[in-house]
Amino acid sequence: MNLFHFLLQNHDQVVELTLEHLWLVGISTLLAILIGIPLGIVSAHWPVWNKPVLGTANVIQTIPSLALFGFLLPVPWLGDRADRLAILALTLYALLPVIRNTYTGIRDVDPAVVEAGRGMGLTGSQLLFQVELPLALSVILSGVRVAVVVSVGLATIAAAIGAGGLGEFIFRGLAMVNNQLILAGAIPAAILALSADFCLGWLERRLRPR
């Protein structure tokens, strides 16, 4: 197998690009979680925020990724380093599934449970951290899973602006009309996406309330 040989011969570079890819996806997902979960909580608790927050996240989602990378390029501090820019773009795309699932997860908690908690004298934050978030956790996690899988794919495009990652192989392969090179980027990316999907799916099932 030619491809197999290629991967073996260039395994240093494959590993390096894979790690770069993971870094881009990991950091952007983490940021999306840190920003998205609070936004989801806010929109679930204060309905006024629901439309603006989810609407904005929705609009961001519709911007073509290549265009978004292009738009952000001239921005002063961001444009200095391609990976910063890629992380910001990936974070923006990952926000929607995280916010939407946090919102849905909290709204779907049995009203009787919330009512009982309030009636027993739980404070707002006790209710949030001991009841609502634990019960919404598996739904939130499934949003994170969607975000990660989408990010792994999107991150390949980040190579177009020089942010590295497995997209390097793909773009190089496209330029050289070399299918082998394209596959050398695409296959590890697909494996990354599938394994992330599998691991997070498993975690999600473990945490699902009965």
């Binding site: 449970v113 027993m120 004298g121 019960l135």
Partner: protein, 262 residues
């Protein structure tokens, strides 16, 4: 303040009204007193305002007119978290936390009140016994229990911090007739021992006659009449009489209500 605390009702409604933010009135001109140690039953059809009345007591709702006093203090003036923790609350859907074991469900309020772990554990054990559940259920999750067991856990949870007042909103409504009968009987014997001040919501006249020391009939957001069970069945009030009539009139003598069959 009144001269003697004995005459201060535990719960008092003074000209209470409640309207939804949209303006629809759910409750008007409610005046009602609940005395220490009694079981006051709020009886009425769905939409009559009984659950609204109940929720005004632990300030899940705030009156839009008049005031509700608990132990002489208007609920509006008291710290709401303190108030709620001093009142046990049991609802029809139980609302047990599905991700907590029975033990954590029952021990939640004591734990957030900062009790020591060992004291919480002993209290949970004691309560399980009190509501007639075996100690080995402590580690189970709510979905592993029967409806009757869940409701008992709900009662145990409400009693956990030993509140003087207990609010119960159709607690036995979703149970089958046999289990309901058994839980009603246990409620009576429990109440004899604990002597809590109980406000109990139901639409079931039979349940009201059996459990209540007084019955408050509600209709369309107004209090119709408050009477002891014996007087209630003989009441000449047209609404009370109609309610009794709709339950088949002859419910048997009220004297043997402890033994009535479902």
């Amino acid at each position: 303040m009144e001269s003697s605390s004995a005459i201060v009702p535990v719960i008092e409604f003074r000209d209470v009204g409640y309207a939804l933010p949209g303006g629809r009135r759910l409750l008007s001109d409610l005046n009602l007193q609940v005395q220490r140690g009694e079981t006051l039953v709020l009886l009425g059809r769905s939409g009559s305002g009984k659950t609204t009345t109940l929720k005004l007591i632990n300030r899940l709702l705030t009156p839009s007119a008049g005031e509700v006093r608990v132990n002489g203090t208007p609920t509006r003036a008291s710290e709401v978290i303190r108030l709620r923790r001093s009142i046990g609350y049991v609802i029809q859907d139980v609302g047990l936390f599905p991700h907590f074991t029975v033990e954590r469900n029952i021990g939640l309020v004591p734990r957030i009140e900062g009790w020591a772990t060992e004291r919480v554990r002993r209290r949970v054990e004691e309560l399980l016994q009190l509501v007639g559940l075996e100690a080995n259920l402590a580690g189970r999750y709510p979905h592993q229990l029967s409806g009757g067991q869940r409701q008992r856990v709900g009662v145990a949870r409400a009693l956990a911090a030993d509140p003087a007042i207990l609010l119960m909103d159709e607690p036995f409504g979703a149970l089958d007739a046999l289990t309901r009968d058994q839980l009603q009987r246990e409620f009576l014997s429990l109440q004899q021992r604990l002597n809590k001040t109980v406000v109990f919501v139901t639409h079931d006249l039979r349940e009201a006659l059996r459990l209540g020391s007084r019955i408050a009939l509600m209709e369309a957001g107004r209090l119709v009449t408050v009477l002891p069970p014996n007087d209630f069945v003989r009441s000449s009030d047209p609404l009370a009489a109609a309610y009794v009539e709709s339950f088949g009139g002859g419910l048997g003598s009220v004297e043997n209500r402890g033994q009535s069959r479902p």
